[in-house]
């Protein structure tokens, strides 16, 4: 090829090699003698293990550099450095930190080509992508978050940084994921221990070194390298306040388990099997390019890759033909070649996995389409691949491949498209292609995905949150929702510890009453808008503070929980009820509750032993709380972003779905309503386990709900032994989120049990809120926990 003459090329019109020089990147490695240490407290350190491992250029298989393996002592040193640096970093204030973040943005631009080249060398991704996409987005992320630091005092009032953050990032976008993690954490006032993936540690180390040169104070950003065991040490470290992880759902699950009950904040951005839906009125040629950007971008090693192509039947044949033609014109080659579309797979082990899965797909009956040209044989390369004749039941339709492999399926109607699209454990992203805005805006909200791209795919912006539904994780990166992931309300750290109520006295016999005895009122369970007898046929006594019997409630069991979740699931249509209607119902509940104020207040006195005045106070606070969420119901709205280009991005607040709630014993009526009202105001349905000691506060509300037009199934109540019921409900795979308030042991239980479907949890970590306090007892913090943000990208222009 090199010998081709101008005359020959004039005839052949072939593309030639167009290499980007790797000189400066290799010079940087050489300055470190090809052997990199750990960047802790502003300086390079040798790892405690004394061990290094090879970082490989996936395009050639040759060793690029030696990277350090951090062990326990190194991790500890990094956490200590971060802890030491944190108070001063926080005290610097928003504007002070904004100056640093701005400097980091400028730094990225100043060294853009070095960063892009090193990234391409280390990861195998095309230089076009690092140069035109990754690095500019990194700079944009730091600029955007310089802004959040600056505006913290006004836009994030009352919030404080969580402290020291452990961040574990993946190998597919090493530098971009660093930016997504580091920028918000620093803006919020946290300090960081970051571990890049073992395949791709280099740009994180370069970034840390450059940041230190730019004056970032020592200890604010520590970068330590190593394999999964190093990540596990960070996750296990007691003095880390938050873990932010991007990677596989498998590892996310391990982290969720390892952090359970340890009062650590956690955000997870996990895998996906995102649908790419093409309707029959789409611009098919553009949809084809969308596929190129969806699955042949970054070798398909993208968590939000549109890897399931869903085609409306009448255009399927045409679309497949166009795709096959397009695949022929793609070029696979050296990542630093400026004339290729697809670079190298990050490591041989990944190449093997892709190969194995594709073979499995073919064995299961899929038809394989690959271009006629051959991939380079040296290094880890895999051709763009399309599999047709794949059905939802096939392994490849469900398993994330993480390679340039697209599986194609057909559908008949928009409803069916949604059904197939949502037939997955994941929920990260989706693309919808249609020229009909009615269809697009109908389908987008129905897709279980944190990001929906209309007529586009894999576009990102720092202002638009990114993150998943379901087993794709929780928490958002980017936008104000991404900032919340690194902050907590200022009062949190000062909350007193949970106190168990005093042990119950021995039951005493009821006093003999004169005349007619009151009519028996044994409260049943409340399921699907009806009072339901407990499945087991048992009841439990509810005793007053003196041991006297106040009443009896049903003893719920596993099956009652199951029935309640089913009823809550059936009632999910509540989410699309007009906000005005939800508000009306909440006000109506308040109205009907007040009508029975005397009775409910008396009940609180009997049950909890508070004074009548305190009981009245609780009742009034409860009514006010219902009013608050009646007010919020039509006001906790999403945002509209204006990312670059001709784009509107609608950040919708969508309900989580079914929320399981375990209520505390203190202020049993007020705490019950404080938890349930924000959940239903935002469109969730709930299954509530009320206070075990004082359940009548909840059961007395059945008739209030019944008379307030609340649709059946929106609120379901199962009384009984709290921890036992919590175990069943928190482990339920159809429950989308869990709120737990109670003893510390329960927080751990819920976090551990959430791993089945990776439901989002919100637990009190054994701390006690003052439900009467307006800041602690209601407001945005509750509402944010009740919703997930879906960003719908709508490009426009005719």
């Amino acid at each position: 090829m090199k010998s081709a003459s101008v005359a020959e090329i004039f005839q052949s019109m072939d593309y030639g090699p167009a290499p980007e020089s790797d000189g400066p990147a290799r010079e940087w490695l050489a300055r470190h003698d090809g052997k990199l240490g750990l960047f802790i407290d502003g300086k390079w350190h040798e790892p405690d293990t004394g061990r290094h491992f090879d970082s490989i250029d996936p395009a050639t298989g040759s060793v690029l550099a030696q990277v350090a393996q951090a062990g326990e002592a190194s991790v500890d040193a990094a956490v200590k450095a971060a802890r030491r640096a944190q108070p001063a970093w926080e005290a610097l204030g928003g504007h002070g930190r904004a100056r640093y973040l701005y400097a980091l943005a400028r730094l990225v631009q100043r060294h853009s080509r070095l960063l892009a080249t090193l990234e391409s060398l280390d990861n195998g991704k095309p230089i076009r992508e690092t140069r035109d996409i990754d690095v500019p987005l990194v700079a944009r992320h730091f600029y955007h978050h310089a802004g959040w630091a600056q505006l913290m005092h006004s836009e994030l009032r009352g919030m404080v940084p969580v402290g020291v953050v452990g961040q574990v990032i993946p190998w597919n976008f090493p530098l971009l994921m660093l930016a997504w993690k580091v920028a918000p954490a620093l803006a919020a006032g946290n300090t960081i221990v970051l571990k890049p993936a073992e395949f791709t540690s280099l740009t994180a180390l370069l970034f840390a070194e450059l940041a230190a040169q730019a004056g970032l104070p020592p200890g604010v950003l520590n970068v330590i390298t190593g394999d999964g065991s190093t990540g596990a040490l960070i996750v296990a470290h007691d003095d880390v306040d938050k873990i932010a992880f991007t990677g596989s759902t498998e590892v996310g699950r391990i982290i969720r388990k390892a952090t359970a009950g340890r009062a650590k904040h956690l955000t997870l951005e996990l895998g996906g099997k995102s649908p790419f839906i093409v309707f029959n009125d789409a611009d098919l040629d553009s949809a084809v390019e969308g596929v190129v950007d969806a699955i042949w971008f970054n070798q398909g090693q993208v968590c939000c890759a549109g890897s399931r192509l869903l085609m409306q039947e009448d255009v399927a044949e045409a679309l497949i033909a166009k795709l096959r033609t397009r695949m022929e014109a793609l070029r696979v080659g050296r990542p630093l070649d400026k004339c290729i579309d697809i670079g190298a797979i990050v490591a041989p082990v990944q190449l093997e996995r892709i190969d194995t899965l594709v073979k499995l797909g073919v064995d299961e009956g899929a038809t394989l389409h690959q271009p006629t040209w051959a991939c380079p044989t040296e290094g880890s390369f895999y051709p763009p691949t399309l599999l047709t004749d794949v059905h939802p039941a096939a392994t490849l339709a469900q398993e994330e491949i993480f390679g340039p492999v697209l599986v194609a399926m057909t559908f008949r109607t928009p409803d069916e498209a949604v059904e197939i699209a949502n037939n997955t454990r994941y929920g990260l992203a989706a693309s919808v292609w249609t020229e009909n805005i009615n269809l697009a805006l109908d389908v987008a909200p129905r897709l279980a995905a944190g990001v929906v791209w209309v007529n586009s795919t894999n576009v990102f912006d720092a202002a638009c949150g990114f993150g998943g539904y379901r087993e794709s994780g929780f928490g958002r990166e980017g936008g104000i929702e991404g900032m919340y992931a690194y902050l907590e309300p200022a009062f949190t750290k000062d909350l007193p510890p949970h106190e168990d109520p005093p042990p119950l006295p021995a039951p005493i016999d009821p006093p003999q009453t004169e005349g007619l005895r009151a009519i028996d009122r044994t409260a049943k369970l409340y399921v699907g808008g009806k009072q339901a007898r407990p499945d087991g046929g048992y009841s439990r006594p509810v005793l007053g503070p003196d041991g006297g019997l106040v009443g009896e409630v049903g003893e719920g069991n596993r099956k009652d929980v199951r029935n309640a979740v089913e009823a809550a699931t059936k009632a999910l249509g509540w989410g699309s009820v007009a906000a005005h209607t939800k508000a009306q119902i909440l006000y109506y509940v308040a109205e009907n509750l007040e009508a029975r104020a005397a009775e409910l207040s008396r009940r609180l006195v009997e049950m909890t032993g508070v004074s009548r005045a305190q009981a009245d106070r609780e009742l009034m606070a409860t009514i006010s709380r219902l009013f608050s969420y009646g007010a919020w119901a039509d006001k906790f709205e999403g945002r509209v972003h204006s990312p670059p280009g001709r784009n509107v991005t609608i950040a919708m607040h969508e309900p989580m779905g079914v929320i399981g709630i375990s209520c505390p014993d203190d202020a049993p009526l007020l705490s019950f309503v404080s938890l349930v009202a924000p959940a239903i105001a935002t469109g969730n349905t709930v299954v509530v386990i009320p206070s075990e000691r004082h359940p009548l506060a909840a059961t007395d509300l059945y008739q209030v709900f019944d008379t307030s037009d609340l649709p059946g199934g929106v609120i379901n109540i199962v009384t009984g032994e709290r921890e036992g019921l919590t175990k069943v409900l928190a482990a339920h795979d159809r429950v989308d989120a869990y709120w737990y308030v109670g003893p510390k042991s329960g927080s751990k239980l819920v976090e551990e049990l959430s791993v089945g479907n990776m439901k989002r949890t919100w637990v009190n970590n054994g701390r006690r809120r003052n439900w009467f306090d307006l800041e602690q007892g209601e407001g945005r913090e509750f509402l944010r926990q009740a919703v997930q943000v879906k960003n719908i990208w709508v490009p426009y222009g005719e």
């Binding site: 052949s12 019109m13 030639g16 611009d283 949809a287 005719e798």
Partner: protein, 338 residues
């Protein structure tokens, strides 16, 4: 594929031969299929995103870049369409058309024997004789703009007559412009009928239909007009007259090129594409060449299927070629003007 010429031989005329020649059968056109025209869907934002990455996904360096630049010259319709054109001016242009690059540079690149010329010379009707005269024996076809260029709003009879007269005067190619009003009023039939009439008036001469993309603005209109012109028998569809506020751009070109592919897939007939106006820098042409090659294939890098309409492009390419040969950046006055 065409029946005679081998595509690999390129389109450089070492020996002058009677123009124009083609490797493929001429597009005979087809009846107007309105459903097809109305069904066309083009998403502007998606087109723009794709177009933006065409030049960034493809890069040619060193001798590849030099060869691609030579190809751009061989695909250029060297154009003068000014009110103050004179036979003398046209003769200068034609001299440049015959020898678009200094011989010493061509020799240095090892292509001295290639006989490199531009694809055609494009002039107003009045200048046809001067151009024919100046190009005699070169094998370079003469293209004339006709049919009420650039507005396309003079009486239809006169526009047809203009085509006939230009053909009679010896023009090998006729560049006509559509009546944009027909598009805005939804009168696809009238647009079709007019282009069909121009095609008939052309006889053996090849017809390039100018869509005037800058006037149509909406990408779907551009796609629809492209289809109608191809159905009416255009040999080429062309972006612009050079007189609209916005001329050729990569996004609108991509829309037209996709329509050419759709037409080919449905009818089997190949239609050429001409990007005209606004292409002044050598580097711009690389994006177009990559687009043609990747979207339609190598054969669309021949003058029978792809042209640049430009007046000052060639001298910019020359400077880049001198840089390739000498390693020094060049100056415009070192290259003969047209």
């Amino acid at each position: 594929m065409g029946k005679n010429k081998n595509k690999d031989k390129g389109h450089v005329r070492a020996v002058p031969e009677p123009p124009p020649q083609s490797s493929h059968e001429r597009n005979p056109g087809m009846p107007l299929v309105l459903d097809w025209v109305r069904d066309v869907r083009v998403n502007r934002s998606a087109v723009e995103r794709r177009a933006a990455t065409i030049p960034t996904r493809r890069s040619v360096k060193k001798q590849w870049q030099a060869a691609w630049y030579l190809r751009s010259i061989a695909l250029t319709d060297l154009t003068t369409l000014a009110g103050d054109d004179t036979p003398g001016r046209v003769k200068r242009l034609c001299a440049k058309a015959r020898r678009p690059v200094r011989q010493d540079l061509l020799d240095a690149m090892g292509v001295g024997e290639l006989g490199l010329t531009v694809a055609a010379v494009c002039v107003y009707h009045e200048m046809i004789p001067a151009a024919l005269d100046a190009l005699e024996g070169s094998g370079i076809p003469v293209a004339a703009v006709a049919a009420g260029f650039p507005a396309g709003l003079s009486p239809l009879r006169e526009r047809i007559q203009e085509v006939e007269e230009s053909v009679a005067a010896g023009a090998h190619e006729i560049d006509i412009v559509i009546n944009r009003g027909h598009l805005f009023t939804g009168n696809w039939q009238a647009m079709y009928d007019e282009v069909r009439a121009f095609r008939e008036a052309c006889g053996e001469a090849h017809l390039k239909a100018i869509i005037a993309t800058g006037d149509l603005r909406i990408v779907r209109n551009i796609a629809r007009a492209s289809l109608v012109c191809m159905m009416a028998g255009a040999d080429f569809i062309k972006t612009s007259t050079g007189k609209e506020a916005v001329n050729a751009t990569l996004p609108v070109s991509l829309v037209m090129v996709r329509m050419i592919r759709a037409y080919m897939e449905r009818t089997g007939h190949k239609v050429g594409f001409k990007a005209a106006g606004g292409i002044r820098e050598a580097k711009q042409t690389l994006g177009y060449l990559a687009m043609m090659k990747d979207e339609l294939g190598r054969e669309y890098l021949e003058p029978d299927l792809f042209r640049f309409g430009a007046s000052s492009l060639v001298s910019d390419i020359e400077r880049q070629l001198e840089h390739f040969v000498t390693g020094r950046y060049s100056a415009d006055f070192r290259h003969p003007i047209s």
